[in-house]
């Protein structure tokens, strides 16, 4: 009986291909939008999490200048004292619970090899930097301690720099010019790709801090200090210790605020992930509204269908169909219709999300739960919006219905 009804409803969908298609368009667009939004959204969330973890997990970043506010970009207050080797030395000497502590100063600088040139993020740091940021070398070696101390002209380059200057070739041992100085390439960094903000993390040159300070920055400042927590120490425990040591070193009296900021990358990662999740939810909800519109479309067409088939309903009732038979017939028809729309919508939504993940370079993360939900929801829409027209059909008087032209 129920299979009979489903077969019947598929038949009626096929009889009116164009009308069914137009009716379904609402549901198709609604479901496609929801699926695309949620899939792209969860891909973005994953991407953001991955980006932040590429910065290094359990990482604190110390900068000079007061914090700009909760969750803010921690803008640098130029009027305040910069960080220097004194702070770095204090942290290395006194901080417990850190896996790696490393200074980093950075500047966008023109890098030249032969006739090629490229503006690249040049960072002065030490050999602990790679460890703090969980960054590996594809080939070559990190700076030695003596190179770090003496500020030798050696450097590590990112994948983008290698491609720009050497194509597929081996860069090791080549000399590149960075600003007015030159340095020898001793290693190639593992590619990290783009950040969620479109920043190329592989367009970098790392050199010993002393060399950077002397030959590029022209001062002894340190822009930021990276502190990586060890496995037993959560960053929120490490943060106050770093703060204490720095306040002490910088002789900040208890009545004054910090003149430096410490950013907890784990917290930022969580905050950003939850922000994208919220965003995804909102977009999904907006897309969900179009599902409602699709449902109204189904209701409209089912009302038309019931009116058009009044005579058929009359025949069925005369022949001995109960109200519930007619009700079920039209309910199933509405449900099958919107389920079809849902399935087509899911396919289109996934295709859109796949396309978006290719162009935006985010992971394609279809969620089975979301897909199941979309299937269930579109069936539900059919039932809910099909109910009123179906009831109207079922309540028809067989005599009137048979007389209907």
């Amino acid at each position: 009986m129920i299979w009979e009804t489903i077969r019947l409803s598929l038949l009626s969908v096929r009889r009116n291909v164009l009308r069914s298609f137009l009716t379904l368009l609402g549901i198709v667009i609604g479901v496609a939008a929801v699926i695309a939004m949620l899939t792209i959204g969860s891909g973005t969330t994953e991407k953001v999490k991955a980006d932040i973890s590429k910065l290094g997990s359990n990482l604190l970043v110390v900068r000079s200048g007061r914090p700009a506010g909760p969750g803010g970009p921690g803008g640098l207050d130029q009027a305040t004292r910069p960080l220097g080797s004194k702070e770095l030395a204090a942290l290395i000497a006194h901080l417990s619970g850190a896996r790696a502590i490393s200074p980093a100063s950075q500047k966008q600088v023109r890098v030249i090899f032969g006739t090629e040139s490229l503006t690249s993020g040049v960072t002065g740091t030490d050999s602990a930097y790679l460890y703090a940021r969980d960054w590996k070398l594809v080939s070559g070696r990190p700076f030695s301690d003596s190179e770090t101390r003496s500020g030798t002209g050696v450097c590590l380059i990112g994948e983008t720099v290698r491609q720009q200057f050497f194509g597929a070739g081996d860069p090791e041992g080549e000399i590149i010019r960075v600003n007015r100085t030159s340095c020898k390439i001793i290693g190639l960094l593992e590619p990290k790709g783009y950040t969620g903000f479109g920043q190329d993390q592989d367009n970098v040159v790392l050199m010993p801090l002393a060399a950077y300070q002397r030959r590029i920055a022209g001062n002894r400042d340190i822009d930021s200090i990276y502190v990586a927590a060890d496995d037993r120490t959560p960053t929120n425990e490490l943060l106050p210790r770093v703060e204490d040591i720095l306040r002490d070193t910088r002789r900040i009296t208890p009545d004054r605020e910090d003149d430096f900021s410490i950013r907890d990358m784990t917290q930022i990662a969580d905050a950003m992930a939850s922000a994208t999740t919220t965003m995804t939810g909102m977009l999904g909800a907006v897309a969900g509204v179009s599902l409602l519109v699709g449902g109204i479309g189904i209701m409209n067409i089912m009302l038309v269908s019931v009116t058009e088939r009044t005579r058929e309903i009359g025949i069925r009732l005369a022949i001995g169909a109960h109200e519930k038979h007619i009700l079920i017939q039209f309910l199933v028809e509405a449900t099958v219709l919107s389920l079809l729309g849902g399935i087509v919508g899911i396919l289109i939504g996934l295709a859109l999300a796949g396309l978006a993940s290719l162009t935006l370079a985010i992971p394609f993360a279809p969620s089975p739960a979301v897909i199941l939900l979309a299937v269930g929801f579109s069936a539900l829409i059919g039932m809910v919006f099909g109910f009123f027209p179906a009831l109207r059909g079922a309540r028809l008087d067989p005599i009137d219905a048979l007389r209907h032209e």
Binding site: M1, E4, R15, R311, E312, G314, I315, R316, L317, A318, I319, G320, A321, H322, E323, K324, H325, P398, I399, L402
Partner: protein, 234 residues
Amino acid sequence: MSGSVLISFDKVWKSYGQGEARIHALAGVDLAIRRGEFVAIMGPSGSGKSTAMNIIGCLDTPTAGTYRFMGVDAGRLDRNRRAMLRNLYVGFVFQGYNLLPRTTAVENVELPLIYRGVAARERHDLAMKALAEVGLVGREHHTPAELSGGQQQRVAVARAIVTRPTLLVADEPTGNLDTARTHEIMELLTRLNTGLGLTIAMVTHEADVAGYAERTIRFLDGHVAADTINLEMA
């Protein structure tokens, strides 16, 4: 050949509207039809014959009075119980055939069996048999659009008898057919009446169609004006 009483009207009224505008389609009709009878119902339009047929077929209920079908007070049953009565005991043939469009003959004939919950295989076999009985072998998979009027009406008859009903209600079954087709259908109905003992109540305007029945009931202004035995058939 008449058996026990199948249908009885006891002072049946059917009224529409309120107050001054109240119209009585049936005004206290008394009537009995026995099992196995073939009754023609005639009368001008507005005479109440269609209303009487709707009540006989358990499609409608009287406003006052009692309608008994197989001894059951069918006038006081709810919609679904009357639907069940129709499904089990009544077959319908209409003037306009009333087949489902774009649906094959055999599927049309299967329809009442679906609502009886008969399994698909058995349904198909019964429908094929019914189509054979009305002489439509070879046309089982044609849709109404591919059949002539006479053939469509045969499909409708097959649909009406596939459930082996007790009563066949025919509402101007030959109204849309030419003379030759009319006589074919009427011979078919007569055969069903004599062969299967099927009770037939048939509305018609045409005297020669009514002539196939053994009894003619004439309605006028909501009353039975005449109830005669057709001598040539008796």
